[in-house]
């Protein structure tokens, strides 16, 4: 498998072709947060909406456009995070960030388990310019949770 194929793994290609969670939903909940993030060099953008039900992220929906990496990443994010507790989401977000910083190496088993399908993004870590693409949705998620009145990490 070439380095390029390592980045564009089948899981990513599949998610990019048929994204999950697209289309902003009205979560019908009390705590709703929204965030709009742009990649200024290419104009790619994502608008992320979360609805919190107490400690749980009950709803994750989004709108946006971008490259296969950014689209697949936000699609995977939707799959991973919707329904999770804030604490669990925090761990997932941090694991995904760590994966991006890992320069193409994998993570420990515990964090890889957390990430599930998202470990397919491991190859992106070899392309610093693409890390921004992969993180676009995740930054929007983090910010949307803050907008909903909560913070994911406590450090």
């Amino acid at each position: 498998m070439s380095q390029l194929e390592q980045m564009y793994q089948q899981v990513i290609m599949d998610h990019a072709r048929a994204v999950h969670g697209r289309g902003l939903k009205d979560p019908g909940l009390v705590s709703v947060g929204e965030s709009f993030q742009v990649n200024p060099t290419c104009g790619d953008e994502v608008r992320m909406r979360v609805g919190l039900d107490g400690e749980r992220i009950a709803s994750v929906s989004w709108e946006g456009q971008g490259c296969s990496i950014s689209q697949a990443s936000v699609s995977v994010l939707h799959e991973l995070v919707e329904g999770e507790t804030l604490e669990e989401a925090d761990r997932i977000i941090e694991a995904f960030r760590a994966l991006m910083q890992a320069k193409g190496e994998g993570l420990d088993e515990e964090r890889e388990d957390l990430l599930g399908d998202a470990t397919a993004f491991v190859g992106v870590g070899k392309y610093p310019a693409r890390i921004k693409c992969a993180l676009l949705g995740w930054m929007a998620l983090k910010d949307a949770i803050i907008q909903a009145g909560r913070d994911t990490d406590h450090d």
């Binding site: 070439s2 980045m7 564009y8 290609m13 060099t41 290419c42 104009g43 490259c67 392309y127 693409r130």
Partner: protein
Amino acid sequence: MLPDLRADFPLLTRTVRNGKPLVYLDSAATSQKPHVVLNAEAEFYQFHNAAVARGAHLIAEEATEAFASARADVAAFVNAETDEIVWTENATAGINTVANGMANASAGIGGTASARFRVGPGDEIVVTETEHHANLIPWQQLAARTGATLTWIPVDDDGRMILDDLASVVTERCKVLAFTHASNVTGIISDVAALVARARDVGALTLLDACQSTPHLPVDVKALGVDFLVMSAHKMLGPTGIGALWGRKELLDALPPSVFGGSTIKTVTMTETSWLDAPSRFEAGSQPVAQIVGFAAAVRYLSALGMDNVAAHERAIARILREGAAALPGVRLLGPVGNDPLENMLGLAAVVVDGVHAHDVGQVLDDAGIAVRVGHHCNQPLHRRFGVASSTRASAHVYNTEDDARAFVAALATVRTFFGVAA
């Protein structure tokens, strides 16, 4: 046509991804530098580095001499007078020097001498829909600060400026018309004569963004007839961190500065300052002298090649890039396809691949050793006009060969298959 110049450019001999030879097709973003430019900078630092126009010591004299003769070289390159060349950090800074100078004139700085630069409510500032952000935002903000109105010349579906009803866009209220000499997205070379004629009719100042022309075409400020022109060395085989603003001397001497500091003034008291004439009034603080010396080496290198030869060489490459890309299924070439004479086009091609985002296109090309630019190339309004967010751009310079262009087309042909979107 030019001989193969790659040996002059050290970076071009390196390899990329898995030892592949590099095909550098990102020169519209920034160009590579020949040995003569790097050597000129190194020699300056090693033998003549000192503060210029100050100090009576030998090295300061040598530095001052290098600084002055570089200005003469760059002036000669565009057929300007030496003291009409103002050093700026990049072309962006040059445009801001004019736009911010006009804002300051409008705020009363510069007294009656600068009155011709004042704009306010009822006045119009005109740009075009094909401008790089650098030649849009400064004017937009000038309008915001002064109450003047920003208007623009629209482009057609091929990105050509629509000049048919120029008179209705560039009206008697127009005070300044700023436009590009050549588009960094479509590669179209503008009809400068038509635009200048209309600006003159209504007494408007003209500023030409020559970022994409001075590296690739013969440029003669006197023949063009504009009032101001900007360029950036880093696209002209020169160093990063240096550009130039050219302006008619009588205009430069009247335009108030907008960056204030040492070496710009005749006398200073705590409360008052009188400015030197141009170019000094605009060159505040210690100047990028080593880069200026490198810039001069770059224009001498280009002049030795002959800008007519450069243009002809790049036209040949343009043909392969543009015709090759346009012929690929599922590939859209931004700008005119086939029906524009290539004399009016730069050696670049920006494309959109059906169903594949520019980042992904660029990644496949990168994997083949081909360096291109992806994104909106600091030109969002034009991309929006084309109905796309971004594109993939291949752009050539003197060191590229026709084989480079063919390599681009060949790699581009593989993109849709890689992403499984080919019909």
